[in-house]
Assembly symmetry: C2
Homo-oligomer: 202 residues x 2
């Protein structure tokens, strides 16, 4: 028997479909909304609808965008010869926060993952090849995640997609995190840090 009123059950069910929200969190959030002011609940509902209605993916780079193209693609101050390839729009936010990059982006909207049925055709890789062929790009930096799927995706793009264009293709450096401690580094990361060592004196 359901002890909650029907609209509460419906909301708990809808919240439970969101990523990272289990039945207990969904219940807690639903009761939070029930106790909250009606204006707060309305603001949340309107934020969901407003995003869905006004935001889509940039036609050029697949970042999120309010119009046909995103704020980065339409920014005249960005270096249009540099292209950074990432898996998701949220990765752009991480890179922008470093302040170390001023080029354009290309979002794949995922990574190659055969176990989950995601191959190159499900990603925006054809669109990447088209951009490299038609825009004046001199370097592509592959910034996919440093895990199995991200490395596979980067290798695939470097060897099968970008090699015919004769442009510079680079990959994010792997190594020790800044502020880290040798003792606690895992052997794979430490191995990569050794391989990628930089000369600092003659």
């Amino acid at each position: 028997m359901s002890v909650y009123a029907k609209p509460v059950e419906v909301l708990i069910d809808e919240l439970g479909r969101l990523p990272g929200i289990g039945p207990k969190s969904a219940q807690r959030i639903a009761f939070h909304i029930l106790k909250a002011d009606a204006v707060d609940a309305r603001r949340l509902a309107e934020a969901v609808m407003s995003m869905k209605e006004n935001v889509s993916f940039c036609e050029r780079c697949f970042n999120v965008a309010e119009g046909p193209e995103c704020t980065i693609c339409t920014d005249p101050d960005r270096n249009r010869h540099l292209l950074c390839v990432v898996e998701e729009p949220k990765d752009i936010s991480a890179i922008e926060k470093t302040g170390a990059y001023a080029g354009l982006y290309h979002v794949l909207l995922g990574s190659i993952n055969p176990l989950e049925g995601v191959g190159p055709d499900q990603l925006k890789i054809k669109e990447l090849a088209h951009r490299v062929a038609s825009e004046d790009i001199t370097e592509v930096i592959l910034c996919t995640n440093p895990n199995l799927e991200g490395e596979t995706t980067a290798s695939f793009i470097a060897s099968k997609v970008l090699s015919p264009f004769g442009i510079t293709v680079s990959r994010l450096a792997s190594g020790l995190p800044v502020g880290g401690d040798l003792e606690y580094a895992d052997e794979l990361t430490l191995g990569r840090a050794l391989e990628g060592r930089n000369q600092i004196g003659s």
Copy 2:
């Protein structure tokens, strides 16, 4: 500089206000909604508004209710002499699942917590006294949580609120969880289990 479109930032901000959702989860959920079908997003937004518009607290017991009284208070098959006092409506759901209780409930909507400024006046304790005085109740079972705030609340209600009425007041038993293991029980719980031991033979 914000790299996301404004409506995305607004939604991330609104989601981040919900309990148990930090900035990273809020971002992940926002991108999930962005990728999802528009009908799914609309269903979520409508579930929020529909609950807010159609559900409030039961006038009698402060459980969630679609009308003036909740489904339990209006159920003619419940034992109207038994009253179970809980902190939150979700506790009713936990007790109902046991199938071991068929009386009525009274929700306090919180517990006494001086550090957070919650005293007896912020809870539905006056309403509890009024019900015990006006309804034909013979036993009140205090089912607040077995933590500091819950125990304080139960003691307060038992000694200051219910003692004049001369009715039976009981408290949930503390003890070892079923399926648990003596070795891993904390000493407080084990102590309570010893104090509350039940005779099983002569």
